[in-house]
């Protein structure tokens, strides 16, 4: 059975996705669009029935439009303005922005708060179309670099890449277009102040969850991220304890890791995944190879080893990917252990990320050219 495939036993019954979404959840979709990226994040409700959204990259725009319409029809997205508080075009590759012009045109001034793109210009029609649509809009626009921080209600966004050194090299052939990728870190909930009448308390939230969305950043870019965002352990002394200082920072720890560049071997290395140590990793790619044969074996090996280290125990074997929560939009559902038979695509990944540390994985069974049918969502329950 290919490592990307998932045994039927790990999947729950169809239905119940909408009921499982709590108002306080951040809902994250990695759409199955083939070799490319379209991501939709529904931020937690900021008032009853109302959520802002983020879109990170957009291809097959019609698939995204239909999902947003269905989410609104079901009441999960109440009327709010702007609906898309932030749209991010991570970098100008066609497989990340071919639908961006249509998205900007449809949602326009009223329903797009800001557009972020890295400022790396490209000759493709998709890039020029996107920038022409942006010219016609009166919305916020930013070309962020590493360290940029933005709060959207209870969600904190930190740009990890491109680092400023890469950013300053854009106007040359010196920077690979993939390394122009905006890498986003999303911390939630970011709100830390409890207010009770005139009393305010700085909360120490143990359950903050973090998502890192890797764009197509490659190891050159990640190398700078590891320098710019050092992991600092706590300094626990009597003095620091008394001052409640020096708790340390682990800025790259994340529960959810959107694996860079569709699982390319240039998208990550072992140390990076060890620093992130994700509970859930998501790879967006086509099934059975595609033109670049993503995901690459060496990338999968690094993910497995960082999450489930066995190198010093050669007699051991890694658990299967589904049990390590390494998820692929290209996964197929298979039945039977000896002679597995194909049941169908697992498709789009939906994650419910709760305030209390909960993570629920849902799969929607769509092919890249299918719409996402919310009623067909099935929970995925890793064993072990």
């Amino acid at each position: 059975m290919p490592a990307t495939d998932v045994d039927t036993k790990l999947l729950g019954k169809t239905g119940g996705f909408l009921a499982a979404c709590r108002p306080t959840d951040l809902v994250y979709f990695t759409l199955n669009v083939g070799d490319g990226d379209t991501q939709l994040l529904l931020l937690p409700e900021h008032e009853k029935g109302k959520r802002y959204c983020m879109v990170v990259d957009c291809i097959r725009a019609e698939k995204l439009f239909k999902l947003i319409e269905d989410l609104a029809d079901t009441g999960l997205l109440g009327e709010v303005e702007p609906l898309l508080a932030l749209v991010v075009a991570t970098h100008p590759h066609d497989d990340h922005i071919s639908g961006m012009a249509a998205l900007l045109r449809r949602f326009g001034n009223e329903h797009i708060g800001e557009l972020w793109e890295p400022g790396y210009y490209h000759t493709s029609g998709a890039y020029i179309e996107m920038m022409r649509e942006l010219e016609d809009l009166d919305i916020g626009h930013l070309q962020p670099a590493g360290g940029t921080t933005r709060y959207l209600d209870q969600v904190r966004l930190t740009v990890l890449a491109p680092g400023i050194v890469l950013r300053n090299k854009f106007d040359s052939y010196g920077v690979n277009i993939n390394n122009a990728s905006i890498v986003l870190k999303i911390d939630f909930p970011a709100a830390r102040i409890l207010e009770r009448g005139p009393d305010r308390t700085l909360m120490r939230l143990g359950s903050t969850q973090t998502l890192i969305l890797g764009g197509d950043a490659q190891t050159h870019s990640w190398g700078q991220v590891l320098t710019d965002f050092p992991q600092l352990g706590p300094a626990s002394t009597a003095v620091t304890d008394a001052l409640r200082k020096s708790g340390g920072t682990t800025p790259l720890d994340a529960q959810v890791f959107k694996v860079p560049h569709h699982g390319s071997k240039h998208g990550l290395n072992l140390e990076l995944v060890e620093a992130i140590h994700p509970a859930i990793s998501i790879v967006s790619s086509v099934h059975a190879g595609g033109k670049y044969h993503f995901p690459h074996d060496v990338t999968q090996a690094a993910l497995r080893e960082a999450i489930d280290p066995i190198s010093s125990k050669p007699e051991d074997h890694h658990k299967p990917d589904p049990e390590l929560n390494i998820l692929y939009t290209a996964s197929r559902e298979v039945k039977g252990a000896r002679k597995p038979t194909d049941v169908g695509p697992l498709g789009t990944v939906g994650l419910l990320v709760g305030t209390g540390g909960r993570q629920e994985i849902w799969r929607f069974g769509d092919e890249p050219t299918d719409d996402v049918d919310l009623s067909k969502g099935r929970p995925m329950r890793p064993e072990g």
């Binding site: 066609d94 497989d95 249509a102 045109r105 210009y121 000759t123 998709a126 920038m131 033109k291």
Partner: protein, 203 residues
Amino acid sequence: MAGKGSAWLPKRRSGPARAKLKPWEPPEVAKQLARDGEWDKVRYIVVDELHEGVAGLVVSPWPRLDQRGRLVFGGEDESRRVATPASVLLKVLRQTRLPVVRKEVDEETAEKLRVRRLAIGDTFAARIEEPPGEPGGGGPGGEPTEDPGDWLKEPVLDITADALEAARTQMSAAVGGVFGEELLETIGAEIAEEDAAAGEEEA
């Protein structure tokens, strides 16, 4: 069909109607590829990705110009994605490539431009009867077996310089806006004033 709950969402809006717009006409492309005015047969080809010897190409309709002189390519389904071995593409280009640059270059530079290696962002204009590849967003899923020699016929104009200029112009206009003649005159007058003052100081 969207239901009632989504009625508040903005409706889909179509892009500029390309058929009503005039084509972008860089002089050399017009001379070499569209003397008969059949711009619909000319394609805009971009090297979008280079990965381990595979070139990911995007083949788009030849752009048109809107009323403000901006390039219009059409929706994502109007472009096609092609994967091809980079070495094969380069071999074909060695036979067919005609570099287009605005400045005069000597023969040695012209030859270097003709045989230079591929880079992401390289852009070509060529006349293609039946565009190859798959329509729709995202990368193609198939093996990179397309032989560009089957569809990329001489002459293939290397318009990278013009395309980069067009992309940079569009980015600058989008993020910084454009100015009209009135402001241009004001800026010109200010520059003239400062030049005159500097001249007086030097004197």
